[in-house]
Symmetry: C2
Subunit: 199 residues, 2 copies
DNA sequence: GCAGCAATGTAGTCGTTGACAACAAAGATG
DNA sequence: CATCTTTGTTGTCAACGACTACATTGCTGC
């Protein structure tokens, strides 16, 4: 009957996986440490060995989320064509997809970045956003974007993409509109850069 | 000693006011119906007469939030100069201010719009966003914005502003950068429109 | 190998919470 | 002024997060 061993052996990763699923399907507020323990088949206090409190679990989820987001952005970047516009479109689409499919997780990631101190989350976030900065630098090198501090130029672009995602998860725009909106934004972004250079 | 009367007489508004304060200062997750009742000086079950459950209170908060947001956007619109760019700047600044000072409330407003059915929230949201649409229409009439469906043109602008606010509340950009970022975004938005018209 | 120690899981408890039911007081209406 | 409705109170329940004490397992140095 395959007696469950006293030591689970893989508890922390399984807790994280189950937690991520719950967060995606039912939101952060529905995540209960005790229910999680039941799902995985351990006692209600077992998770405490790996996460001192609930917030620690949420922070760990956020960190994993940044890692995954970074991978997906990187894959989009690498998988697109050579042109700046293609890459920008691919990365933007990847970000919006992540933000809409894992809206609660992204919220967690942003929220965690506020109160976390140790910097682990910040480091993970920076790795994830590094792709964005690369992209901007490339755009500037190709002359498709106005020169300047990449952080500053990129932030407006980032904000727009993030905002589109927020509008979708907020139910203000339909998912079918996303493509159109992202294309509009990119066109405007690049067009705006051209205009600024011309001025 | 001013014996507290059996009937409070003004419970619902006071609950909402206290709740809004708690949400602003300590976030949504820190909002407890029982603590709220204690703060206002009623028994733990009294709030139930006005809000069937916790979510109902949150929805009411969201509705009030939309009303206030609408007023502030309207005031910014009316208080700015006649020019489109001035008004756009004022409204954008007002939105970002609301979104950063009442980040948790705005989150609540967006979240509530998802699951609420009766449409009360949707109506409140539409009233609040009406100012935005007016602004876009005016920009188009003045030729500062490219023509087209105001909803669609406005959405990209809205998304950008909302995204900037999200970046601030997420701790990714410092509050001091907001002004600069918003100005950048507006310049780009209008410049992008000009470029598109020129193309 | 094996003694002792650190790591990991269990059982029990406490205070708090949201939700609910039964009851009480105050107003409103005829 | 009798009655009905609204609004508040008390009491209870199950679930939760956090904590403590204890049990089991695996690892490391001798």
């Amino acid at each position: 009957m395959a007696e469950r061993p006293y030591h689970h052996g893989n508890l922390r990763p399984e807790l994280l996986a189950a937690a991520e699923r719950t967060v995606r399907e039912r939101g952060v507020q529905a995540l209960s440490l005790r229910e999680l323990a039941r799902d995985v088949g351990v006692s209600h206090a077992a998770p405490r060995r790996h996460f001192p409190d609930r917030q620690a679990l949420l922070d760990a989820l956020a960190e994993a989320g940044f890692a995954r987001l970074g991978e997906e952005l990187r894959a989009a970047f690498d998988g697109a064509g050579e042109g700046f516009e293609d890459r920008l479109g691919a990365v933007a689409a990847a970000y919006v997809r992540f933000a809409t499919e894992d809206a609660a997780l992204l919220e967690l990631m942003f929220a965690g970045k506020k109160h976390e101190e140790s910097g682990v989350l910040h480091a993970a976030a920076e790795r994830a956003f590094a792709v964005m900065l690369e992209l901007i630098a490339e755009g500037q090198a190709q002359g498709a974007l106005q020169p300047g501090d990449p952080e500053r130029v990129g932030l407006v672009l980032f904000a727009t993409i993030q905002g589109i995602a927020a509008l979708v998860t907020g139910g203000i725009v339909a998912p079918e509109q996303v493509r159109e909106l992202v294309d509009d934004a990119i066109e405007r972004f690049i067009g705006g850069s051209h205009a600024a250079r011309a001025a």
